[in-house]
Subunit: 346 residues, 2 copies
DNA sequence: TTGAAAGCGTTACCAT
DNA sequence: ATGGTAACGCTTTCAA
């Protein structure tokens, strides 16, 4: 592997000239520059980033921690982060913690050891001290995206989760639902609590409660949704509509309905959050999250800190309800309407 | 940020003692070791990986290049690579080229500049010289996964694509289809060609051709499938069944059918390849690829090279047909059967 | 069992 | 416009 030294020798100039010819950090005569570039080409020289980082005390690398890269939400958000990073001539290390605390802890260490210039945290969990310590040390700026971290109050970009819950409540109540359910990921996640709070507030504003037994917490993924749906539909008085705190879980709910012969939306209306690409394919009514923008904004926030320090205020993004075919009037409501229509005819 | 020097001072020992206490590369007396560890803890010391790599000439980092991280195929494969990497105490840089040549070129440079110890290549494209040059220089071993690289003959792990095509052909012909179509990504991709070849060979063995106008190449993603399906179904004599070279495109085909009111499988049977998680949700018949295993095997291959050099033989994995609800007898065939059944009744 | 010192490939500063 | 050289933080000889 050719080094800067080899290039210098090949081009017949000093090391520092090569360095500057490549970085453009000081004027270089055109012929010299050309000779250097030719030597680079001939030797297939690629500057060693480790050495560069070591000498310059900046790695030009950002860390991105996501909860589960196989949730389609993250790749898009990651792309947002990455594009902004690339604009700033940075690159990205993506760490998928898979909801596993040990793994998450290790990744934090890796990112710190790698001396990344900053971290975008999109993993929710972080129950562990590791991140708190890192933040406390203050060496590496961290911004959160999508999910605020418990007890940490990082700068970041978040969906207006309460608003999202309200919108869903309005939609379902308007359709005629009276018995409503909620399915969410682990209860300690701020987003889950906020979405539920908004949902409850929304239904309450129409004079409707959300019964305790109709609120189920489960694993954050499709399987969790499936399990929760089974519990919910087995109730004596099952809800006619359910708000599911994210699309992956909502897909699980749909799967449960399919496999147990429940009609959607006839027997159960389902609303998710995220608007994953697959939501369109399966006709899932959901709250749209601007995933790419959330990632990009988080990255911009990070560069803002990197460049001018400080603790920028959190950015809150507007939810948007996308109505598809997984929501409709409840069955009893339909027969009700039909009955009235018939009365009218007479 | 505390350095090894700080730790040495704090613990009252030399730098090399700290280094060895941490790496365990030479015997250290218990009390000394403890003092060092305490100092590390107190200062929150994290070894600088750049410096370490520079000094030891090994980064313990692998590069993973994927075509499109938002294709659910990749995360799972990536997980396979990552798990094996972690077992070897390596970490992973994931690069998503997005099918963009410029981006791909840049990433290759990044990985080389970062001095990764090896690269798993899962992106197909690589029409560019960059990778060829890198391979030619021979500094960094590269293995391919899922898609062999044109003109490069890397060690790697691949699906038996011809076999997959044959299996699909057998399945569709057995259902009674006579007019068959094929939709694939860019024709220069080896997998696409191989899957088509197997498909054609399979139908031929039943005495059936695949008409030229029924073979469509398009963009590798869902949108491409949608476009291709539109072309195919607009034909004078459209096929009654189509083999789509990957699930994302197949989802696009399904989407086209839905939006244009075509029944699946009544009007068109659809088979994909990959068996993405979403395939189950939408009931897509498809060829199962062991994604995780493909990734893990590729990583193992890479470590094999790293440890003992050489050029291991390519690993080929068996395809498996998963029949779901997107395939069935063609409509005319159904009426045909019904007609016969009625005849039988009389 | 420990310490000193020579690199590793760059950048950045001080000269010229 | 160019060259020399001291860092950067660590690993790895070589000595003791």
């Amino acid at each position: 592997m050719a080094t800067i030294k080899d290039v210098a020798r090949e081009a017949g100039v000093s090391i520092s000239t090569v360095s500057h010819a490549l970085s453009g950090k000081r004027p270089i005569s055109e012929p010299t520059r050309r000779r250097v570039l030719e030597a680079v080409e001939r030797l297939g020289y690629r500057p060693n980033w480790n050495a560069r980082s070591l000498a310059s005390r900046s790695t030009r690398v950002l860390g991105l921690v996501v909860a589960d890269i196989s949730n389609p939400f993250y790749p898009t958000a990651a792309r947002g982060v990455e594009d902004v990073a690339i604009q700033h001539d940075y690159s990205l290390i993506i760490c998928s913690t898979d909801g596993d605390e040990r793994r998450e802890r290790e990744y934090i260490d890796v990112l710190e050891a790698r001396q990344v210039d900053g971290i975008v945290y999109m993993a929710g969990l972080a129950a562990n001290r590791r991140l708190a310590e890192l933040v406390a040390r203050g060496g590496i700026p961290v911004v959160a995206a999508d999910e605020q971290l418990r007890d940490l109050d990082l700068p970041g970009v978040f969906l207006m989760n309460e608003r999202a819950g309200e919108m869903v409540a309005d939609h379902l109540v308007a359709l005629g639902h009276r018995r409503l359910g909620f399915i969410g990921g682990p209860r300690h996640l701020p987003t889950v609590g906020e979405r539920l709070a908004g949902f409850v507030a929304g239904t309450a504003s129409h004079g409707l409660p959300v019964a305790d037994e109709c609120v189920i917490y489960a694993d954050n993924r499709a399987e969790g949704g499936q399990v929760a749906a089974a519990v919910l539909t087995a109730l004596d008085r099952p809800p006619t509509a359910v708000f599911v705190a994210n699309d992956m879980m909502a897909l699980g709910v749909l799967e449960h309905c399919r496999s147990s012969g429940l009609a959607v939306p006839g027997d159960l209306s389902v609303v998710g959050v995220d608007d994953l690409p697959v939501a369109r394919l399966v006709g899932l009514t959901t709250i749209h999250q601007p995933m790419y923008e959330i990632g990009a904004t988080a990255a911009r926030l990070l560069f803002e800190i990197l460049e001018s320090g400080g603790h920028p205020a959190p950015v809150r993004v507007q939810p948007e309800l996308v109505v598809r075919s997984s929501t409709g009037p409840p069955l009893d409501r339909i027969s009700d309407l039909e009955a009235r229509a018939q009365l009218a005819v007479r």
